[in-house]
């Protein structure tokens, strides 16, 4: 999904854990290749210079620190960078898939998520209560209302979405949140 929003002038190579580097856009109808899928099991295309490899090599790339950035969703994230995104005991277990490998292996871990749960509860918490995906692994949290970085001393609010007050962000965040001295308005594209 993120790949749909990368500006054309950016030179970005997409890795997909099932064994491909250089994932391209979705194919036109009739051009689908059932042997060319992304990790969400959708048919995709391969860009010029792309490559295929098996699962062991794919995760050697991941764990070996060769991937610059991974972008994931979250159910809970804590002020110390702990992440939970794969199971709610008694209600929902999806499976960790490659997420536990990605969060320890990628150079930078970015979360994109709603700031609060569907019930309005904070998802950025003092301590995660759900089963963890990784400990102290998150670098950046991007929500519908805020841009926050995880620093050694805790969370730092750096940008706020247009029309949202600082107080609203603080109220919707359970974990302690410091405010950057150069706090800015978030740039939001259509």
């Amino acid at each position: 999904m993120v790949s749909n929003y990368i500006p054309e002038e950016y030179d970005v190579t997409i890795h997909s854990e099932n064994g491909v580097l250089g994932v391209g856009p979705f194919p036109y109808e009739g051009d689908e290749d059932p042997d060319l899928l992304n990790a969400s099991k959708e048919t995709v295309t391969l860009l010029q210079g792309g490559s295929y490899f098996d699962s062991a090599m794919s995760f050697s790339m991941v764990r070996g620190g060769h991937i610059d950035v991974t972008i994931l969703g979250a159910m809970e994230v804590a002020g110390n960078g702990d992440l939970a995104n794969w199971a709610i005991p008694g209600r929902m277990i999806s499976g960790m898939g490659g997420a536990m490998d990605l969060v320890v292996g990628a150079q930078k871990v970015i979360l994109t998520m709603e700031h609060v749960s569907k019930r309005g509860a904070p998802k950025i918490v003092k301590a995660c209560t759900l089963p963890l995906t990784g400990k102290g692994v998150v670098d950046v949290i991007i929500t519908d209302i805020a841009f926050i970085t995880v620093e050694p001393e805790g969370l730092m609010l750096r940008e706020i979405a247009p029309g949202v007050s600082k107080n609203e962000v603080m109220e919707k965040t359970e974990a302690p949140l410091q405010v950057a001295s150069d706090l800015r308005e978030m740039f939001v594209t259509a």
């Binding site: 099932n18 060319l36 098996d54 995760f59 999806s94 960790m96 490659g98 292996g105």
Partner: protein
């Protein structure tokens, strides 16, 4: 004289899989699943199987048929509860099947270790999570890591694109996924392919899985079969 590993049918290729076997089953999404071998296994009496595979099957076909038949005692996978894995979910909620979920990279590396003669390895993946529970952890070069052991199979049931009659294999696109590493990690590797060629037709430098890892080759009876779409 070269050995000929080609079997006449999927049924013949899987005929001696025993009860209680651990099966390494290739495939990710709809790509690289040995569909015809799975159809043959549905007609085969082997029960109490442990199946190691990336996810717990989609829809009603393929692996789901074996699950429905009650032939699978345990699934070891990285992602069990996709919404379309409803056959597995039903059995799991009824307590009729065991589940062990592993991080996908750890699963791949454990299978690789089994095939490569590695007794165990330390990895940072899963430290401080349920995936590390009950396992030795330590700090190496300032990093917390967990000890993981090999994950071998009794039989690898995999899919490749092409084989020669000696069992040299090539894969196509993302249909490789777990298949190459699973080929190395069982004493009996059974491969379904789309095309069988004479030795030498696959250029030596283009072989993905060398023939030493392959015991049986069969051309899939129905090449359009897709249990997951």
């Amino acid at each position: 004289m070269t050995s000929d590993k080609v079997y006449p049918s999927s049924k013949a290729a899987i005929a001696d899989i025993p009860d209680g076997a651990t099966i390494l089953l290739g495939g990710f999404g709809g790509a690289g699943i040995p569909e015809n071998l799975l159809v043959a296994m549905a007609d085969h009496p082997a029960r109490e199987l442990t199946v190691v595979t990336n996810h717990a099957g989609f829809g009603e076909r393929g692996l789901a048929v074996l699950l429905r038949q009650g032939k699978v005692r345990k699934i070891i996978c990285s992602y069990a509860f996709h919404r379309s894995a409803f056959v597995f979910r039903e059995l799991y909620l009824e307590g009729k099947i065991e589940l062990e979920q592993l991080p996908q990279g750890t699963m791949a590396e454990r299978i690789r270790a089994a095939g490569a003669g590695i007794s165990a390895f330390y990895t940072p993946t899963g430290v401080g999570t349920q995936a590390a529970e009950g396992k030795e952890t330590r700090t190496i070069n300032g990093r917390d890591v967990v000890l993981e052991h090999p994950l071998p199979g009794d039989v690898a049931v995999i899919k490749a694109h092409r084989a020669d009659r000696m069992g040299n294999l090539t894969y196509r696109g993302t249909a490789a996924n777990f298949n190459p590493v699973m080929a190395t990690a069982a004493p009996l590797t059974i491969v379904e392919v789309e095309e069988i060629v004479a030795p030498g037709v696959i250029a030596p430098e283009s072989v993905h899985t060398p023939s030493i890892y392959v015991q049986r080759v069969v051309r899939g009876e129905d090449l359009d079969l897709r249990s997951e779409t």
